[in-house]
Amino acid sequence: MTTQTNPQARGSSFWQSNFVYSFRKSPIAIISMIVFLLIALSAFFAPLLAPVDPYNQALFDIMDSELPPVWETYGDPRFIFGTDPQGRDMLSAILYGTRLSLLIGICAVAVQAFLGISIGLIAGYVGGRLDSLLMRMADIQLSFSTLMVAIIFLAVSQAIFGSDTFNKYAIVMLIVVIGVAEWPQYARTVRACVLAEKKKEYVDSARVLGFGPLRIMVRHILPNALSPIFVISTVQVANAIISEASLSFLGLGMPPSQPSLGLLISSGFDYIFSGSWWITTIPGIVLVVLVLVINLLGDWMRDVLNPRLYKGDK
């Protein structure tokens, strides 16, 4: 214990090095990470990578509509993944769509995490009536499905604000709706963690040293509850992306002028029986792969960070 630790290990905590080690030992994690980074980076750099701007309808040529991908007969080398009925380049649309889906997914999860962690910490630490009240609120929230809440809210606000205003703020609306609808997932996990951590002596010793409740919650308990928060975050990003895609598919999400992955899938749906399969299928594959790799990463992370499987020193 008192022996010399090597200089690299010093300063970084033990689980981090363990984390990196098991990452290198897991081919699934490595492949998922590579695919995720590939999708995320190409989405992030979409304005540089995309051949055309899919939001600028002036650039579309109706003569190019419903061209198949380049490897099919009649494929056009200008449009690698073909075009949609308006003559929009599918590759560009997918890149921009993925960008929107990821943005909405990550921001919605940030909203969820903020709400859920704050409420979970307070409920777990304060306990008593406040805990019961907050957790019953979470139960009520969970008893409505996310989609149901989102559909009602989005449909009502679309009717109130009119579709022009709605379309302008569609991203914000989606982030808020998905964020608010799913906070109980975080709140429950964080609360359970806090209840377990609160009994440990380091919390008593923090109280004995005269620290206030806010400092104990945020600085002492929260860092000890980070592993499960990481794990749910990955799963929740995947869920949020699916929720956004479903809402857009139902016409309650992004406007047709700024298609996300879900909207691209739904816009191709009308043409799938006329043989234009690529409009739906290619964005569909991207969505499935994106959600799959995020879930695989989350799964792997849960195995690594699970304290019950983890045999290291406390």
């Binding site: 008192t2 002596e201 600085r219 860092p223």
Partner: protein
């Protein structure tokens, strides 16, 4: 004037219908720089005494009545912000298990600096300098490096030294140590105790040592309180209590020490176990286990009486004293129904003690 003066401190826990008394009218004084031991079995109320001195009893517990005068102020009447100033700053506490007392995800340095900066206006560098000085005081080698380490990188003894250093960081007037060495190896126990004794003496810090180890109490403290079922049953100078215990319970504790038994003999136990707080016996709480109990013990709570050099709460202490005198001359301690079979002294022979108590609780 006493640094700490506890008067009639009563702590209760609110249960569904009635409340349960965990501490029943505890009173004691502690002078500046004095070291006090609190001993007793598990469940006697030792730790609750320690926590209530900081007013850190979590719900459903509450201080029912009594005063805790610390440095001229009554802690029992203080509000949270005032208490936060006292805790850590003027009073510190050391816990039993150093493996779980430090926060596992913060470095030693972060925890020490945070403690300092929560109470004093200090820059990061100043706080680190103080932390290094304190780590040196507890004989931690290369303290600069330790500041960057996490608790899991250190051994148990090292961690307990660091916890002591954290307790001393703000130069408190009183340290409450709740079984500080129970979780450590015997060899390290002695080191830690020596260190605490040295630090208390050099820094003129008062110490309340909560333990069930009478050897440690003997080595470390000047005065001792013996607790049973939430009451103080004997108090006085440590030397007197160890060498000449008055209360039957204290006598039992001392006879139960392994040193009191010849090799090969069974250890002398006190029969029975500590009553649960929901079911404290009437009268003297110790009477069902006491070899000398009379009918008076079952109904009347004994008052604390000065008896020789110590204060004892026992009805029969004078009779016991007389019996002990006779035992010394080899006569049976014949008077009193409990030791009625008395072939030998009730003090010296474990077998008699057991039989006598069986008699006592049966009648």
């Amino acid at each position: 004037m006493a640094l700490l003066s506890v008067k009639d401190l009563t702590v209760k826990f609110a249960m569904r219908e009635q409340s349960v008394t965990a501490l029943d009218g505890i009173s004691f004084d502690l002078a500046k720089g004095e070291r006090l031991g609190i001993v007793g079995e598990s469940g006697a109320g030792k730790s609750i005494t320690g926590f209530s001195l900081m007013k850190l009893i979590s719900k459903p517990g509450f201080i029912d009545r009594g005063q805790i005068q610390f440095d001229g102020r009554d802690i029992a009447k203080m509000d949270e912000p005032a208490l936060r100033d006292i805790r850590g700053n003027h009073m510190a506490m050391i816990f039993q298990d150093p493996m779980v007392t430090l926060n596992p995800v913060l470095t030693i340095g972060e925890q020490m600096v945070e403690t300092l900066r929560a109470h004093r206006k200090l820059s990061l560098e100043e706080a680190e300098q103080i932390a290094i000085v304190k780590l040196r005081e507890v004989y931690i080698p290369s303290p600069e490096e330790r500041l960057r380490q996490y608790p899991h990188e250190l051994s148990g003894g090292m961690r307990q030294r660091i916890i002591i250093a954290i307790a001393l960081l703000l130069e408190p007037k009183l340290i409450i140590a709740d079984e500080p060495t129970t979780a450590l190896d015997v060899t390290i126990q002695a080191d830690i105790m020596d260190l605490m004794l040295e630090l208390c003496q050099t820094n003129k810090v008062s110490l309340i040592l909560i333990t069930h180890d009478l050897g440690v109490v003997n080595q470390m403290t000047e005065r001792t309180l013996v607790m049973y079922a939430g009451r103080i049953i004997e108090s006085g100078r440590t030397r007197e209590i160890i060498n000449d215990p008055q209360h039957p319970y204290t006598q039992g504790l001392i006879n139960a020490l392994p040193q009191q038994t010849l090799p090969g003999q069974p250890l002398k136990q006190i029969p029975g176990s500590m009553p649960s707080l929901t079911n404290i016996p009437t009268g003297c709480a110790f009477h069902p286990r006491c070899a000398y109990a009379t009918s008076r013990c079952k109904t009347e709570i004994p008052r604390t009486l000065r008896f020789g050099a110590v204060e004892v709460a026992c009805h029969e202490v004078e009779r016991l004293k007389a019996g002990q005198g006779k035992a010394g001359t080899g006569q049976p301690a014949a008077n009193g129904n409990a030791s009625a079979n008395g072939d030998t002294s009730a003090y010296d022979e474990a077998s008699t003690y057991d039989e006598a108590s069986a008699n006592g609780s049966g009648s």
